[in-house]
Amino acid sequence: MEIKVIKNILGENDRFAAENMALFKDKNVFVVNFMGSPGAGKTSVLERTMEKLGSTLRMAVIEGDLFTSKDADRIDKYGVPVIQINTAGGCHLDANMVQKTAKDIDLDALDLLVIENVGNLVCPAEFALGEDARAVVLSVTEGDDKPMKYPLMFKESEIALINKIDLAPYCNFDRKSAKEDIEMLHPGIVVQEVSCTTGEGIDAWCDWLKAGVAKKKGQ
C-alpha cells in the first residue's frame, strides 16, 4: 500500500515536470539540473561558469539547499539572478518546488537556467524537474568507485564532470576506470575532467552549455 502512495507522488511530480518543460520550451530557456554529492563542487563550478559566461549568456541560478542560503549568497556576488529553495531537510528538489520558484524569475530575459540540486548522489536522480539536461559532478576525493555504487545518477545524466582533478594524484583516483564505468553505465554520456582551482576543463564545460543554449534556441 505504501508503494502506491510513493508512485502517486512520483506520478504527480512528472505532471509538474511536464508543465515546467512546456514553460521552459515556450521561453526558449536551456535548463540544467545540476546534481552531485555534498561538496562535489557544484557551486564552485557555477562560480567558474559565471566568470566565463557571465557576459555572453543571460543566466540565472536556482539554489536547492536544506536550510541555508550559503550557496545563493555565493552566486549573488557575481550579479547573476539567484533564487533559493529551502527543502527544510528534504533530500531532493521536486518539480512543484521549481514551478513555484520559476514564477519569480523573468524567463524572457534568460538563455540559461541552472538548478543546483540538494547535495545527494541518490535521490535527486529520481525526480525530473522539467529540465533539458542533467549534469552530475563527481569529485576525485569521493573515489573512483562511486559511479558503480550510485549508478542511477550517471545513467540519468547527459554529462558527468569529474571535478577536483587537481587532487587526483593525492586521492588514488583511477581516472581511466572511473571514465570507463561511467561510459558503461551510460553509453554516449559526455565525461569531462575539470578543476575549479586550476580552471582545467571549464572551457569545455562552458562550450557544452553554449551548445545546449544554441540548440534550444533552434540555431
Binding site: C91, E126, K155
Partner: protein, 80 residues
C-alpha cells in the same frame, strides 16, 4: 535521508537471478557491459564459472526481451 522520503527504495526495479550456460571470462565481461548500458539496469553480477547471473533492472525502462536479447546475440541461453 532517503528513508524519510522513500525515494530510491521503491524505484520500481526488479531483481532477476538465473543461470546462463556457456560463459567464458571474456563473454561474461562483454555481457556485463552490454547489460549495464541498458536503461534502468542498475546492477549486474555474473559468476562466469557456474553461470549464475543477477540483473537489477527497471521493467518500465527496459523490456525483459531486451535483456534476454543480450544473451541471444552472443549465442548464450538464459534459463529463467
Amino acid at each position: 535521508m532517503c528513508k524519510e522520503c522513500g525515494c530510491g527504495e521503491t524505484n520500481g526495479n526488479t531483481r532477476l537471478q538465473f543461470t546462463v550456460e556457456g560463459y567464458t571470462e571474456e563473454l561474461a565481461k562483454d555481457v556485463e557491459k552490454a547489460l549495464f548500458g541498458l536503461p534502468g539496469v542498475l546492477f549486474v553480477h555474473i559468476h562466469a564459472h557456474d553461470g549464475e547471473t543477477t540483473v537489477d533492472y527497471a521493467p518500465k525502462k527496459t523490456k525483459l526481451m531486451d535483456i534476454l536479447g543480450v544473451f541471444q546475440k552472443r549465442g548464450l541461453e538464459a534459463q529463467l
